[in-house]
């Protein structure tokens, strides 16, 4: 199977080695080895329940928060296994941020939402600058700059999602994990998120889970197709959507699955 290899020139932002995840007796991820290239968008696609979210959560130790989940294997970040004993999962999640399907702002002001992370990790003197820079990067600044003290829950769904992205960016992560970040949004808000992803990738590495094949085709450089916990095919997005090598991938991307 063709796969994406970058380790030779040291460009992988993240690398997994035989990662397995079990929920009790159910093995949800069955030994996945893959590399996520730096400053690229990687899309994870596959039918519901195939393990996309589970795999994504391995990338920043979010599975630690799921009591029944047991992870084995290695996830290398800057050459270090994120699951090594001495690694602090909170620091992992600062450097590898996550954005969820449903925007989940805190019921606080717009400003406080973005300032939350920086305050948690120390009280930076330039907090206003960090908040402004994060909101600009999330393409939300112009829409909220005059109402920073308004409650974040008063924003539209699309704005709330961009606020959550700003909140993740405020702690200067290197990688952003996004689990169906646009699936709860209308087409215009969704297009804005896609646009944003394409801007963010100049500075960040992005892994996005999406059910929308066209979205994966539009925003990603590389696409990984998962099926029942296995990585079936991982290749250049053009290849996956025009001429995949695996019949199974072909059946899935053409909607002939099952």
């Amino acid at each position: 199977m063709p796969t994406i290899r970058v380790s030779a020139n040291g460009e992988a932002a993240l690398e997994t080695r035989d990662v397995r995840v079990r929920y009790g007796n159910n093995e949800a991820i069955k030994g996945i080895t893959m590399e996520i290239p730096r400053k690229r968008v990687v899309a994870l696609i596959g039918p519901s329940g195939c393990g996309k979210s589970t795999l994504l959560r391995c990338f920043n130790r979010m599975n630690d928060l799921v009591p029944s989940a047991a992870v084995t294997g290695e996830v290398l970040f800057h050459g270090e296994n994120l699951y090594a004993d001495h690694v602090d999962p909170v620091e992992v999640r600062r450097r590898i941020g996550m954005v969820f399907q449903k925007p989940n702002p805190f019921p606080k002001s717009i400003y406080d939402n973005v300032a939350f992370g920086p305050r948690l990790y120390g009280r930076p003197p330039d907090l206003d600058d960090i908040v402004e820079r994060s909101l600009r990067q999330a393409a939300l600044w112009d829409e909220v700059k005059d109402r920073m003290n308004d409650n974040a829950l008063g924003l539209s769904g699309g704005q709330q999602q961009r606020l959550c992205i700003a909140r993740a960016l405020a702690v200067t992560p290197e990688i952003l994990l996004m689990d169906e970040p646009a699936s709860a949004l209308d087409p215009i808000a969704s297009a804005k998120i896609e646009e944003l992803i394409q801007q963010l990738v100049e500075h960040y590495t992005i892994v996005i889970v999406t059910h929308n094949m066209q979205q994966a085709a539009r925003v990603s450089h590389y696409t990984a197709y998962l099926y029942i916990g296995e990585l079936i095919e991982y290749d250049d997005t053009n290849t996956i959507f025009t001429a995949p090598h695996e019949k199974h991938t072909e059946d899935y991307v053409t909607g002939r699955f099952g």
Binding site: D235, T239, T254
Partner: protein, 240 residues
Amino acid sequence: MSPADSARASRHFDQELQELRELLLRMASRAEEQVRNALAAVKQRDAQAAQRSIDRDGEIDALELEIEERTINLLARRQPMAGDLRTLVMTLKISTDIERVGDHAVNIAQCAKRLAEALPVPDVGDLDRMAEVSTGMLRDAIAAFIDRDAELARDVCQRDDQVDRYNDSVFRGMLSEMTRYPGAIVAALQMMLVARNLERIADLATNLGEDVIYIVEARTVKHHAGEVVSDVETEGEFDQ
């Protein structure tokens, strides 16, 4: 969309693709028939049959328009991926090529009309064999398309060189007929034109063959029989 919904939607899509394939097939058969009729008119010096061929070219043009419209609609509505995408894009390309085969059939029919009134060429050399090989290529390219048969398509591509050689030999043969029988100059020139059109038809059949190989194997094959110029493998490639 639930898996059941998506399976239902794709069944409908399969139906639409099937209809498109049938239209393309009808168009290809019409073009092949036009070429055969035009060649028969050449052989039988039948100006009326030639004119009937010319008059029927509109049917091919109409089919091309319908195929183009349906394909564009499917691209817009279905946003096809992978094999479906390749099939639809190639359908546009193939129908354009078939339409040109039809134009060459018209050219041959026009030659037939002029030949019917001219003194015949005593010896047409390899022209019959050339017509046989070219129309055979067209027929097999269409069959390869119907059966998704990359082997047959590759075989079609390989026959193109033979047609080029026949074209040269017909050209030289007609030149020598002209010197030997000045009365046959008009007919010999028309025969050269017939050969030239057959050579173009063989080229278009070769294009068709290459397109079939692409649809089936997702590889781009260009110009030389069976030779793979680029394929879509990207293993290890990181720069865009």
